[in-house]
Each structure stands twice: as structure tokens, then as C-alpha cells.
């Protein structure tokens, strides 16, 4: 730790959570064992689409050690079917058709992995033995796999009660699109695809539900990003009121957005635990996880851009499709993407007009979930389009970016959606990245390498990340994830306790929130404890951790709460010391009179007076050393930056390697630069996976083809190169809180930089990359280097 007196904010403080986690003392759901606990396993559909004709669980029920076997019929008796989004209000859009469904298949199976039955046994081993004894009879139906299938009226509706497979359609327009097209020198068209891939946290899903029949109280141990969300979503389905549900989440092994939903398995396990009156644990295994936990990103867009002769985007028309799979996720259905991809498309450009239509479509695939930067396709589309414009007009892609990205404090001062371009440093990051990378000299190297049969390419992309970002003027009030509340108190020993509604799952909140409080309060970092993950103590929040909001929102709440608590401490000390508050200072947990340090009181002494001797306080003085503070985000600015990379493509094998990867980013004031850089690196690594390795692939017949880590390939240390991270000089937008989120930035922008670099490497082969996923087999196909037999 830093010496006393040094500022904690901005220091590379070692994460306090690491010793626990790295020495195996973390407590994940599977580490929790409750007395009398039984173990659950789901029988899952092997077929993509079918009618469940019969299900015989009698042999499984008879196996010694089996406690119970639940079928869809049982679940329909024990729970109430739900519409995804009922709690968030996202089931009610007029252009939306929301199906209701149960946690186990009742009439139909709708994707490979759809849960059909739930076995509860004395051990996971016995439960898996019992699975093999269940006999199901399923009549196969025509599978709905692709966008075309979903729009084909000849295909059966996945939910019988809806006539077709269109979940939601949306239409949006900003600016004068017709004028933009009338003015254009050139129309550029592209149809761009992002493939289905998935978050893949290290810890799969899992929960333990324990019903106390005498207290009529449910305790859930969950692997979740949002403990309170379970309390909000479950009551309508399982018939337990919110005040009788406590959710505990200790360490969570990653989420990336996937664990910001309440899944059908959660409902089924809770129903079983309540029915049985004994704790039931479900630990998802990797096979289940890859097939069913949730996929993301299967999106495409037809783009039409009105472009000026010098490569400036004047207007864009876009038609977006989102393949959201069978069961919309709850409480934030994937249909949201139909809007957000259009709304987020503009990024840091001066785009004058944007018109979009979009459709979210059902298919016989696993549930679409949020994944690190849920709108990421928007950034990919925009940056790809800029590269395509550069290529079609014969302009350097760097110059196209210079001409399209806004300059701070020059018009336009706001996006088409109304959000101000407050403090954006995109242009600075572009120049810094280009300089670091030697952009101008690269062409010469590239030509020299080609003469040796080596193919190098360079790519660049920039982004803005709203975390939460500036508000549209006049639109006050919280966004969908709400304001952020923090609770601070001083314990009897003088230690400070922060209670946050954030649910850390890798971000290091135990460290960063304490850093903020240490500086603002004037206590030592090691005297601060961050508590989270128990809904009995944490403030209500539909989303715990998500949307890269903690940097601004949670740090902001802690900063303001610390300031208020400091005020309380000083005023109490002033009373006791009979001093003027203005003459007092609080440092390292001791209040003293400036200039005469012997006249002092420790936080422990103050806490004791506040709790045990309130009679010593003047009448009316606050006697508790605790503060609860809600923060609205203040005048938050944008995170953003530019990524630039050089790749080498082996055009004979299609294997891509990274020569250099540079990130120049602006996340405001980094509370802990090491944590910021970890977030950036992780995001870039996932983007490398997305482009080169990861594909949640389905066959034309709807079979899932990426069911194990031999088929679904993650980036490893041998794939991911060193990632150089540079920070741009930031522009403050708020008087106090200029910490901005970085959780999603790496992941949303890197795919475009990487694909751009690969396309550049393959330029001699006339390749245009209109898809995000470029595995080696696809690269040789695009390059035309595949030799005939």
C-alpha cells in the first residue's frame, strides 16, 4: 500500500480480493454445502424443435438415491408461467409479441438443451445416473435456424400462440435522412454479419435454493451479477413474496452480462426446493453451459450510407436483424437489441441523419443474452463501414476517421439522439494511436513484407462507451438500471464499512470503492471493508453490476457518501473537542486540530461516543456515524478511445497472429490503473476470441455444434499478445466524479480493429470482410488461396 497521506485514487493498489481467490479460498456457489442438501440435474432436449408426446420418469424415480423427478407438468402445477420482461416492463411494447412459458418444457422443446425434466438426488452422480433412465418421445418439427427461416411464413411458429416468429419490430429515424441522401456524392452499401458467440464465464451458472417451511422463507445462494433481480423476478413465478427471499452471492466467477438474468433453471430449482422442503443445489456443467446458458450477438445489418466525395458519412439507413433464440431472457429480453444497435450506431461520428428498421426474431436456438457491450454490433457496423468507405473512395482509413469523428467543442455538440458529445477525446486518441503505431510508415513495411510472401495488415477503430455517459438535456431521472446507493458506516473499532449494491464478479470493487473512500474520508485503505452480495444488507437494485456503471455510479455514490460521513465525523469531533469544524482535519482515521496534532480523536473514540455516550453530544447533533447516499450519475462524460493493431496472416493456412496491439483510451480518472488495464485486456482478449475462434455454431438442422471446449475455442495466452495500453489526457465533465466505466470498451471496439487489419493484410487478394468471424478456414476461402484438389 501507499504511504499514509498519499492519494489512493490513481494508485496501482493490489487487489484485496486476490489473495483469497488465488489461494483457493474464494467461495463460489459450488463451494457452499448446506445440511441436507440434495443435487439437481436437468434432462435436456437433444433436438432443436419438437412436440413432447410423452415423458416416462418412472424408472428414474425408482432409482435408489433419487429424491424427486419433476416434469413440465409438475412445474406447471408448482409455478406460474411468465412473460420475460414482466418485471422490467419490457414485455409490453406495442410492436412486441411476448410468449409465456414455463421453466421446463410442457408441450414443446424449442432448442437443443431445452430443459425437459429435473432430477433431484442425494448426489450429482446418482442424479446423472437417473437421467439415463428417463424416456422421452418427441415428434420432430421443422427447425427455425436462420434469419430467413424466422421470416419464412412456411415455418412453424416456435410459440404456438404467436402466429409467426417475429418477436418485435422497431423503426427509428433521426435527422433528415432524405436530404442526406439527396446531397450524397456516393452511396455505399454493405451487408454485415456478426456471428453468435457467448460470454463463457469461468464459473458456470448455479444456485442453491433453501426453503425454510417454518419461517416460510427462501434463501438462495446464487452465481449472479444481480442478487436483488432474483427477488424481483421470482415472486410472480414461484409464489414467494419478495420480503421472504434472501439472496446471497459471495464470489462470482465472471458473468459478462450472462448472469444479469433470472433463468428458467433458477425458477425450477426454487420450485423444487420449496416443494421438497430441503436445500437443492444445481451446478451447471460446461456442456450444459455452452449449449444453453446463453448466447449473444447473432445480428446482421444491411447498411446504405450517403457519403460525400471526401468520405464523410452524411446519413445512414440500416435494417437490423437479431436472432434471439427461443426463450427471451428475463428481465431484459434480447429484443432490446433491435433498438440499441440503431441508437448506438453513430458513436463519435458527425453523422447527420440515421434511419433504421429492425426485427428481433425467434429461432430454435439458445436464449440470447447480454454480452459485454450488448450494443457492440453497432460499433462493428460503423467502423467496418468507415473502412469500406475508405476503400471505395481510395482514401486512407485514418483520414476517413479524421474527417468523420467529432472534434471536441465543435459542432455537432450532440449526437442525433440528443446526448451531448461532452468531453470526447476521440480525435486525440486517434492521433496518439496512429503515432504510436507508425501508421504513416506502415505502408512501406507492408509492401516489403509482401515481396517476401508475408501478409501484414493494420486496422484501427474508435468508440464511445456510455457508462452511463452524459444525459440528454431535459431528460432527468434514472436510466433503466436506476440510481446507485451506497451505505457507509464507522464500526466500533473505527473501521469503515461500505455496503454496495454492486455485485463484484471480477471487477475488484472491494479494492476500488475502498480507494475512493480512503481519499475522500481520510482513513487508511486497509481500515475499509466493502460488503456486498447479501440482499439482507445491500440496497435494492434490479442490476447489481452491469453496463460498466460502477466506475461512475458506485464510486460516485461512495465518494459523496464519504464526503457526507466525513462531515458528520468532523462535526461530532468539533462538538467534543469544542473546536471550530473548519480547524479540524481527518487523516489516517484521526481527527485533529490543524497545527496541534496532540488535540485529536480517533474514529474509534468517536464511534464509541456516538453509540455508547450520546448524552455527551449537544442536543440535536446526529449521533450515528452512518450515511446512506444515492447518486444520480452527476455530469458524467464518455469513456472512449482508439484501438490499432498489426496482424500477420499466413495466407496458406489462414492462421492470424498479432504483431502489435495498441489501445489508447480515456476512462476519465482511473481509480486503479491496474484494474482499468485488466478490464481493457480482458475485453480485447474476448474480441480476439470472437474474431478468430469463438462461434456458437448451429447446423442447418438446428443441432448445436459447439458443445464442448474442443469445438467452442477460447483465446488462450498463446493467442493473445501483449496489449499495450496508453491513456489519453482526459477532460473532466463533473466537479467531483470523473471516473468512467471501462468494462465494455475493449470488447466493443476491438473486433472492428482486428477485422480491419485482417482485411488490410488480404488486400492483394481483393478481400472485403463483411463478417466478424474469420477463422482460418474462412480466411483461405476469402483469400482464394485454397488450392483445388
Amino acid at each position: 500500500m501507499e504511504a499514509v497521506g498519499a492519494r489512493s485514487i490513481g494508485a496501482r493498489v493490489m487487489r484485496v480480493e486476490d489473495p483469497r481467490i488465488l489461494t483457493g479460498r474464494g467461495q463460489y456457489v459450488d463451494d457452499v454445502t448446506l445440511p441436507g442438501m440434495a443435487h439437481a440435474v436437468f434432462l435436456r432436449s437433444q433436438v432443436p424443435h419438437g412436440r413432447l408426446l410423452s415423458l416416462d420418469v418412472s424408472e428414474a424415480r425408482a432409482l435408489p438415491g433419487v429424491v424427486a423427478v419433476y416434469t413440465g407438468e409438475d412445474i406447471a402445477r408448482l409455478t406460474t408461467a411468465a412473460q420475460a420482461g414482466a418485471v422490467s416492463g419490457m414485455n409490453l411494447s406495442p410492436d412486441m409479441k411476448s410468449p409465456s412459458f414455463h421453466s421446463l418444457a410442457t408441450d414443446k422443446v424449442r432448442h437443443v438443451g431445452d430443459p425437459i425434466a429435473l432430477v433431484v438426488a442425494e448426489s450429482r452422480y446418482i442424479a446423472e445416473d437417473a437421467l439415463e433412465l428417463i424416456v422421452d418421445d418427441i415428434e420432430m418439427l421443422d427447425p427455425v435456424v436462420t434469419y430467413e427461416d424466422a421470416l419464412d411464413p412456411g415455418k412453424p411458429p416456435i410459440f404456438d400462440e404467436l402466429e409467426d416468429n417475429v418477436y418485435l419490430t422497431a423503426e427509428m429515424a433521426f435527422g433528415d435522412i432524405d436530404a442526406a441522401f439527396a446531397e450524397a456524392d456516393r452511396i455505399v452499401r454493405a451487408s454485415i454479419q456478426v456471428h453468435r458467440h457467448q460470454p463463457v464465464p469461468m464459473e458456470c451458472r448455479g444456485l442453491i435454493a433453501a426453503w425454510d417451511p417454518s419461517a416460510e422463507h427462501l434463501t438462495i445462494h446464487a452465481s449472479t451479477q444481480s442478487p436483488h433481480m432474483l427477488r424481483m423476478v421470482l415472486p410472480d413465478q414461484v409464489g414467494i413474496p419478495i420480503e421472504s427471499i434472501r439472496v446471497i452471492a459471495r464470489d462470482v466467477g465472471g458473468g459478462f452480462g450472462l448472469k444479469n438474468s433470472v433463468t428458467r433453471e433458477d425458477v425450477a430449482i426454487v420450485a423444487a426446493a420449496k416443494d421438497l422442503g430441503r436445500p437443492v443445489k444445481w451446478t451447471e456443467d460446461r456442456l450444459e453451459h455452452l449449449a444453453t446458458a446463453g448466447h449473444a450477438r447473432e445480428e446482421m445489418a444491411d447498411l446504405e450510407a450517403a457519403v460525400s466525395a471526401d468520405g464523410v458519412l452524411l446519413g445512414v439507413r440500416m435494417d437490423v436483424k437479431v436472432n434471439i433464440g427461443a426463450y427471451p431472457s428475463d428481465p431484459f429480453p434480447g429484443a432490446m437489441q433491435a433498438y440499441t444497435i440503431i441508437m448506438s450506431f453513430q458513436g463519435p461520428t458527425r453523422l447527420r441523419a440515421l434511419a433504421g428498421t429492425s426485427a428481433a426474431l425467434f429461432s430454435n436456438k439458445a436464449t440470447y443474452v447480454a454480452y459485454r457491450g450488448p450494443w457492440a454490433t453497432a460499433d462493428f457496423l460503423r467502423e467496418r463501414l468507415l473502412d469500406i468507405v475508405a476503400d471505395e473512395l481510395g482514401i486512407d482509413p485514418l483520414d476517413v476517421r479524421r474527417r468523420n469523428y467529432v472534434v471536441r467543442d465543435e459542432p455537432p455538440l450532440a449526437m442525433l439522439t440528443g446526448r451531448p458529445f461532452a468531453g470526447v477525446t476521440t480525435r486525440e486518441s486517434v492521433e496518439q494511436a496512429a503515432g504510436l503505431m507508425g501508421w504513416d510508415a506502415f505502408g512501406e513495411r507492408q509492401r516489403a513484407a509482401r515481396r517476401e510472401g508475408r501478409y501484414l495488415g493494420i486496422g484501427m477503430a474508435s468508440y464511445l462507451e456510455a457508462a452511463p455517459g452524459p444525459r440528454v438535456p431535459g431528460q432527468d431521472g434514472p436510466d433503466i438500471m436506476g440510481y446507485e446507493t451506497a451505505h457507509l458506516s464507522i464500526e466500533a473499532g473505527g473501521q469503515v464499512v461500505i455496503v454496495t449494491r454492486q455485485q463484484p464478479h471480477g471487477q475488484g470493487h472491494e479494492t476500488t470503492l475502498a480507494q475512493v473512500a480512503a481519499d475522500e474520508l481520510g482513513v487508511r485503505f486497509e481500515d475499509i471493508t466493502v460488503r456486498y452480495g447479501d440482499t439482507d444488507i445491500t440496497p435494492m437494485a434490479i442490476v447489481g453490476t452491469g453496463g460498466s456503471r460502477a466506475a461512475t455510479m458506485a464510486n460516485g455514490a461512495v465518494l459523496h457518501a464519504s464526503r457526507e460521513l466525513r462531515g458528520k465525523v468532523i462535526s461530532l469531533a468539533a462538538d467534543l473537542l469544542e473546536a471550530n469544524p473548519a480547524d479540524l482535519e481527518l487523516a489516517a482515521g484521526v481527527v485533529s486540530v490543524k497545527g496541534s496534532p496532540v488535540v485529536s480523536l480517533t474514529l474509534a473514540e468517536l464511534a464509541r461516543v456516538a453509540s455508547d455516550e450520546p448524552h455527551r453530544l449537544p442536543a440535536g447533533a446526529a449521533s450515528d456515524l452512518a450515511v446512506t447516499r444515492t447518486y444520480d450519475g452527476g455530469r458524467s462524460g464518455w469513456s472512449g478511445g482508439t484501438h490499432c493493431c498489426i496482424v500477420e496472416v499466413d495466407v496458406e493456412t489462414g492462421i492470424v497472429s498479432f504483431e502489435r496491439y495498441v489501445v489508447v483510451e480515456d476512462c476519465g480518472v482511473p481509480v486503479n490503473p491496474a484494474i482499468v488495464e485488466g478490464q481493457v485486456r480482458g475485453g480485447v482478449a474476448q474480441a480476439m476470441g470472437a474474431v478468430l475462434l469463438e462461434h456458437a455454431a448451429y447446423g442447418e438442422d438446428g443441432q448445436y455444434l459447439a458443445g464442448s471446449f474442443m469445438d467452442y475455442l477460447l483465446p488462450t495466452t498463446t493467442v493473445v499478445p501483449r496489449i499495450e495500453i496508453h491513456h489519453v489526457q482526459t477532460v473532466p465533465t463533473d466537479p467531483d466524479v470523473n471516473f468512467r466505466g471501462v468494462g465494455e470498451g475493449g470488447m466493443i471496439v476491438a473486433p472492428a480493429a482486428i477485422v480491419g487489419a485482417i482485411e488490410d493484410a488480404l488486400r492483394p487478394f481483393g478481400v472485403r470482410a463483411l463478417e466478424q468471424h474469420l477463422p482460418p478456414a474462412r480466411i483461405v476461402e476469402l483469400a482464394g488461396t485454397l488450392r483445388p484438389r
Binding site: S708, V719, P775, P776, R789
Partner: protein, 291 residues
């Protein structure tokens, strides 16, 4: 992903192990490093009722240089062979192949014998056994057989081992003096099973022409393939880029590799040609052909 019910036997001697195999027949399976078998049992793709664990049998633990051959007992770990200077010098193609197998932690447990007995069509070591003309020694209560690699591999996950037999030793011939070897594979990531791989050897004769060439391609068929027609055609030829290019095209032409999420048959066939050319070129360079 939990194992089905089974009985774990831990014999201390080979005789006990062979008795168990003889007694239980196709109900039993040998377990060596467990790096292939345990995942298969966890996914319930293999469900032996009796596991015969040979890890406690001291007589199977030796790695020996016997002059003309290197002998590896059935529980010699892949990592031990990888770290051996004797292997690096006397069986360089084996040394070059080993690091391609999974990751260090897997090679710390996985055995050479287990990899051959497992006979995955995309595995490295069966190809090494084929290209070096290795032999395996197998034992049962019925006696001992010494089987040439060519006769050992039958298909994907299938060998000529009978249910009651245990592989006890792998014999890899020491390399010919002056021969150049190369082991090359294309995998999506370091450590993955190969999309396609090639083990090759080139030895030069008088006048700088090729005396002997050996080519074994794996990941393209049910078992590793020696491409003998091309080997024969190369014998006596000048070791030129053109000759290797032509040999590679010939070697790949008739292959019928599998298709999967990682690539089509056509892609793998293409990779076979690329990799055979690269392997022959690298092997020739090591045999002394100027670059």
C-alpha cells in the same frame, strides 16, 4: 459430467493387471494417465465397469536407450520424454511432436503408451510411431505380441489390442544418422488437436539426391497414413522446392479428410498439401540440403 459407477482396481504387478483384464474382458479398461479416458467417462462416452489402473506397476515406468531403439514403459509420461536429452538426440521427431500435445499439465500425466492405445486419429504420437516404424509390446495372460505400428492402428479410437491385452512398452527406433526430421501441424491454437499434421523424414544419398523419404499425415483419415507412393517417388529425386511442391500435391490429392466446425474436407486437404511441403522442406534442410 460425473463418472458412471465403476470399480477402480489398483494392481501392484503386471500379472495382477493381466489377470483382471483376462477376468473382466470388455467390461474392463486400462487407465494410464487418464487424460483421455477420464473426460470420456465424465461425458459418459466410455463406461467401463472395471478400471485397471497401471500407475502403481513399477516395471512399466522405465525409459531406456537400447541402442537401436528407445523403449518407453507404459506409464512413462509424455512430459518425461519431452524433457529427455536422449529422446531429443536419438528420436528428434518424437521430441518435436510432444510439445504439440495439449499443455504441460496434460503431458505431466498423459503417457506415450496411452496415446497410442487411445489411437485418436488427430493425435500426434500415433503419427510419430508410424513414421519411425515403431513397435508396441502387448501382453496378456495368453502371452506377448510385438506389433508394428502399421498393424496396431485400426481406426479412430481403435487398435488391434484385444480386450484382455495391455500395452506394456513402446519401442521407437533410433534415428538414422544424417536423416533430417520434421514434425509440423496446423491447429487452431497451440495445444489443440491438429486440424492436420505431418511427420516427415528426408535422408540424402550420394550426390545430394534423396535416398529415403518418409511422410506420415494425420488428422485426415481414421488413422495416420504413410504416403508410400510419394515416399517412393521421392527416393532418388533431387531435393528441390519443385519436387517437394509436387510431392505435397500428390500426397494430398487422394485424401478424404473429415469436415467439422473447424474446417471442411477441402480445407484440410489443402492444409495437408501445405504442411507436407513445409515438413519435407524443413526435414531436407536438416538433412543438409542448402536452403
Amino acid at each position: 459430467m460425473k463418472l458412471p459407477p465403476l470399480h477402480h482396481n489398483t494392481p501392484a504387478t503386471l500379472e495382477e493387471a493381466l489377470d483382471l483384464l483376462g477376468e473382466h474382458g470388455d467390461e474392463a479398461k486400462v487407465i494410464a494417465g487418464g487424460q483421455s479416458l477420464v473426460p470420456m467417462m465424465a461425458m459418459r462416452l466410455a463406461r467401463p465397469a472395471q478400471l485397471v489402473d497401471i500407475n502403481g506397476i513399477a516395471s512399466l515406468a522405465a525409459m531406456e536407450d537400447r541402442g537401436d531403439v528407445l523403449a518407453f514403459g507404459a506409464i512413462v509420461r509424455e512430459r518425461a520424454a519431452e524433457k529427455s536429452s536422449v529422446v531429443a538426440e536419438r528420436a528428434p521427431v518424437l521430441a518435436e511432436a510432444l510439445p504439440h500435445i495439449g499443455h504441460v499439465s496434460i503431458r505431466n500425466r498423459g503417457t506415450i503408451g496411452g496415446s497410442l492405445a487411445h489411437a485418436d486419429a488427430s493425435a500426434e504420437l500415433p503419427a510419430v510411431a508410424m513414421v519411425t516404424d515403431a513397435h508396441v509390446v502387448v501382453r496378456s495372460r495368453r502371452g506377448e505380441r510385438i506389433v508394428a505400428a502399421e498393424d496396431f492402428f485400426v481406426g479412430h479410437f481403435t487398435t488391434s489390442l484385444a480386450d484382455d491385452e495391455c500395452l506394456v512398452e513402446v519401442r521407437v527406433p533410433a534415428t538414422l544418422p544424417g536423416a533430417g526430421w520434421s514434425f509440423q501441424e496446423v491447429a487452431r491454437r497451440q495445444g489443440d488437436f491438429a486440424l492436420i499434421g505431418v511427420a516427415a523424414m528426408v535422408a540424402l544419398g550420394g550426390g545430394g539426391s534423396i535416398d529415403t523419404a518418409r511422410i506420415c499425415v494425420f488428422g485426415v483419415a481414421e488413422r495416420p497414413l504413410r504416403i508410400r507412393t510419394v515416399e517412393d517417388a521421392l527416393a532418388g529425386a533431387a531435393p528441390s522446392p519443385e519436387a517437394f511442391e509436387a510431392a505435397a500435391a500428390d500426397a494430398a490429392r487422394d485424401l478424404e479428410p473429415p469436415s467439422d466446425v473447424h474446417g471442411s474436407a477441402a480445407y484440410r486437404r489443402h492444409l495437408a498439401a501445405v504442411t507436407v511441403r513445409r515438413a519435407l522442406t524443413a526435414a531436407a534442410a536438416r538433412a543438409g540440403v542448402p536452403g
